[in-house]
């Protein structure tokens, strides 16, 4: 759709708590808050507040089936909020639940400090102890690995055989983790404003992608899997995933024309479009078809900490740290 029409069609929300995470269930944008509540923002402009935690929600994920959200709280609880409104306690403990992630194949994983819990949805979890506190969790799209960003590298755990692990080593503190669409590469963001990549089958093949002015904590792959989009610079930086070694030994491409440092990026499913959230609060839709930018939300000074698409690619959503959010129906991709 035309970005000018799009900007006018964005539904804006303003909540009375910081936004900490967001996820879609169906076409509903769920926004997690620093006050422990989730707000469900619907396409009719309504929003519904559901209080879940006594404290902040630190992380949130929606499951593959699209019928539940998992919320991780600093009250030591992991909760499941069903699309039907049912709330259940999945984990109760003393330590903060720092991270939560869901796989495409019905797994859910969460972490409390160094302890990782991994379960099939609805089943009892197994516990895995990481070498240091876990900063981020993510499953590979092919479901082969659960990845944990830790100090000194990435810990990979096989969801079906949790005793099978692999440690991808690189000195320093790793703060975000993701996998290429084909599941062959693992990527982490580091405290030192860089990304690190390993070829999982042959981890001695690895590389560092540096030179970012800010931490590239957000990254994603284009729908066709042929390039990785990264935040952390005042241009959109992409890395090629076309050769057998991915971006290792390759150069990045940059797309100028944004509005300041990119804070969050997401590729639209079945499309060549990219949603970009900026550190200064603006939100842009970038189209690889003609490399054009269209702005769908203006900068308001607060960082856009996440941008998301609904699984069908129809709905776009974003949240800013200050508790504002936006939802846009873009039509079929």
């Amino acid at each position: 759709m035309d970005p000018f029409d799009a900007a006018g069609a964005v539904l804006h929300y303003r909540f009375e708590a910081q936004a900490t995470a967001c996820a879609f269930i169906g076409s509903v944008l769920a926004v997690a808050g620093g006050d422990g509540a989730v707000r469900l923002c619907a396409v009719d402009g309504s929003s519904k507040k559901i209080s879940l935690h006594d404290g902040a929600i630190l992380s949130m994920a929606s499951n593959a089936k699209g019928d539940a959200l998992y919320t991780a709280g600093d009250d030591g609880n992991l909760k499941r909020l069903g699309a039907d409104g049912a709330i259940s306690d999945i984990h109760t403990g003393r330590k903060w639940v720092d991270c939560v992630s869901c796989s495409q194949r019905g797994h859910v994983a969460w972490s409390c400090g160094k302890t990782i819990y991994l379960a099939k949805e609805g089943e009892e979890p197994v516990e895995i102890t990481a070498p240091s506190s876990v900063s981020a969790l993510a499953f590979s799209p092919d479901g082969k690995w659960l990845g944990a960003a830790v100090y000194g590298g990435a810990l990979l755990i096989s969801p079906n055989k949790p005793e099978t692990t692999k440690f991808l080593e690189w000195k320093g503190s790793h703060v975000a983790i993701g996998f290429s669409t084909d599941g062959r590469f693992c990527v982490t963001a580091m405290l030192e404003n860089s990304l690190h990549i390993w070829k999982i089958a042959t981890p001695e093949k690895h590389g560092n992608m540096g030179g970012y002015p800010a931490k590239p904590v957000s990254f994603d792959w284009m729908a066709d899997g042929r390039s990785m989009l990264t935040a952390g610079a005042d241009v959109l930086v992409t890395w090629p995933f076309t050769g057998s070694d991915g971006p290792i030994g390759q150069n990045a491409a940059v797309f100028e024309g944004g509005v300041g440092i990119v804070r969050s990026v997401r590729a639209r499913p079945s499309s060549r479009q990219v949603l970009i959230g900026y550190a200064a609060g603006g939100v842009a839709l970038f189209d690889r078809k003609d490399d054009s930018y269209g702005y769908i939300a203006e900068a308001d000074g607060s960082p856009v900490i996440d941008v998301r698409f609904s699984p069908d690619g129809r709905m776009a959503g974003f949240i800013r740290e200050n508790g504002t959010a936006g939802l846009l129906d873009m039509g079929k991709p």
């Binding site: 009375e16 708590a17 910081q18 900490t20 808050g33 620093g34 006050d35 404290g55 902040a56 929600i57 630190l58 600093d74 003393r94 330590k95 903060w96 720092d98 400090g113 240091s132 506190s133 900063s135 100090y151 000195k171 320093g172 503190s173 405290l191 030192e192 800010a214 931490k215 607060s302 740290e321 200050n322 508790g323």
Partner: protein, 356 residues
């Protein structure tokens, strides 16, 4: 609701087990000052903390810069502070208690390194609690205690009722030799007024060496009598060889000290083209042993005071307020570290002066 852009102040409490750190923590929390604090405690804490918001930390030391042993941060602190910053801000500040033997370096460096932490929080002060008697007896055998004093903005000299006045003066002189820029607060049962501890802004550049005028008076004139003399000339005009005599540049180093300090001053202008590469080089070369550095510089062709500080290799600096009309303009730089080569550093610093 307003989401404040004001940075949340962080106060770090260090000190040996038994020195009174937890007593001080509980006093801060229970005293009626109308402020609420989140508390990050270490897992080996002495006794319970009575507070709504207590977070347990396991001191995780992370090396940065591809494994440099001095460029370390507290990984757990990054995670916990980031988490606390997500909450609806139901507290005014954060207190961080470290374990007895903890090195405060990584804690301080966390605020230099992590831009997200630095955007939302500020290190207010490092407070080191020491037991007067224990310090008097043990300091020579306790490098960790010396380092905790070296990093301190405020040393709470606790349990002064357990030592004689003479011993107390000896201990204070010893603390001064390690760290000439800290403030010493004498206490019996940690009974220091809270407003002497919180809201210090000790790491704000515009507060660096703020008590300097005071310092000049007190320490140049009223010298505590150890075995070197002050020369009464301005070093800028000093024409003798500095390497082979021991005149007093507020030199507090002694060979038996693990951690010591020295400072240099000059009324000559500093040449920025010489100073900045030099201080970078010092950071690279001696960063591992340089615990803290603080400096105020009178840079040539600039009417503002340049203020710099460092924790190990991590340097920061900026121009601050203008020199006042009639103000005594000088440059002064203080180094606190482990066996730093004073002669080399002095020689290097003096060479950054503008040569006519």
């Amino acid at each position: 609701m307003t989401i404040s852009n004001e940075k949340t102040p962080i106060t770090v409490l260090t000190g040996y087990l038994g020195a009174g750190k937890t007593t001080l923590l509980n006093r801060i929390l229970t005293e009626n000052h109308g402020k609420k604090y989140a508390v990050i405690v270490n897992e080996f804490g002495e006794i319970g903390i009575d507070n709504d918001l207590v977070v347990d930390a396991d001191e995780e030391i992370f090396e940065m810069n591809n494994g440099c042993i001095c460029c370390t941060v507290r990984g757990d602190l990054i995670r916990i502070l980031a988490g606390l910053m997500k909450r609806t801000r139901d507290f005014d500040g954060i207190l961080v208690e470290t374990t007895g033997l903890a090195d405060p370096g990584p804690v301080a460096q966390t605020f230099f390194v992590d831009e997200d932490i630095a955007a939302k929080t500020k290190l207010d002060a490092i407070i080191t609690v020491v037991d007067a008697k224990h310090l008097f007896l043990e300091i020579d055998r306790a490098p960790e205690a010396q380092e905790q004093i070296a990093f301190a903005d405020i040393v709470v000299l606790n349990k002064i009722d357990t030592v004689s006045d003479d011993d107390l003066r000896t201990v204070e002189a010893r603390i001064r030799r390690i760290n000439p820029t800290c403030r010493i607060e004498r206490a019996e049962r940690c009974n220091v007024p809270i407003d002497h501890l919180l809201g210090q802004n000790a790491f704000a550049l515009d507060r660096i060496l703020d008590d300097d005028a005071d310092f000049l008076q007190k320490d140049f004139d009223d010298h505590d009598g150890h075995d070197h003399e002050h020369c009464d000339h301005d070093h800028g005009k000093c024409d003798h060889d500095h390497a082979d005599h021991d005149h007093g540049h507020l030199d507090a180093s002694r060979h038996d000290d693990h951690v010591s300090s020295f400072s240099f001053m000059t009324r000559d202008k500093i040449d920025p083209e010489k100073f900045f590469p030099w201080i970078q080089m010092i950071g690279q070369e001696f960063g591992i042993d340089m615990l803290r550095m603080k400096g105020i510089l009178d840079i040539k062709d600039d009417n503002r005071r340049y203020v710099a500080q460092a924790v190990h290799m991590m340097l920061e600096g900026d121009f601050q307020r203008e020199w006042r009309e009639g103000e005594d303009r000088y440059s002064r730089i203080v180094f606190i570290g482990r066996n730093l080569p004073r002669d080399i550093i002095e020689d290097g610093f003096m060479k950054t002066r503008v040569t006519a």
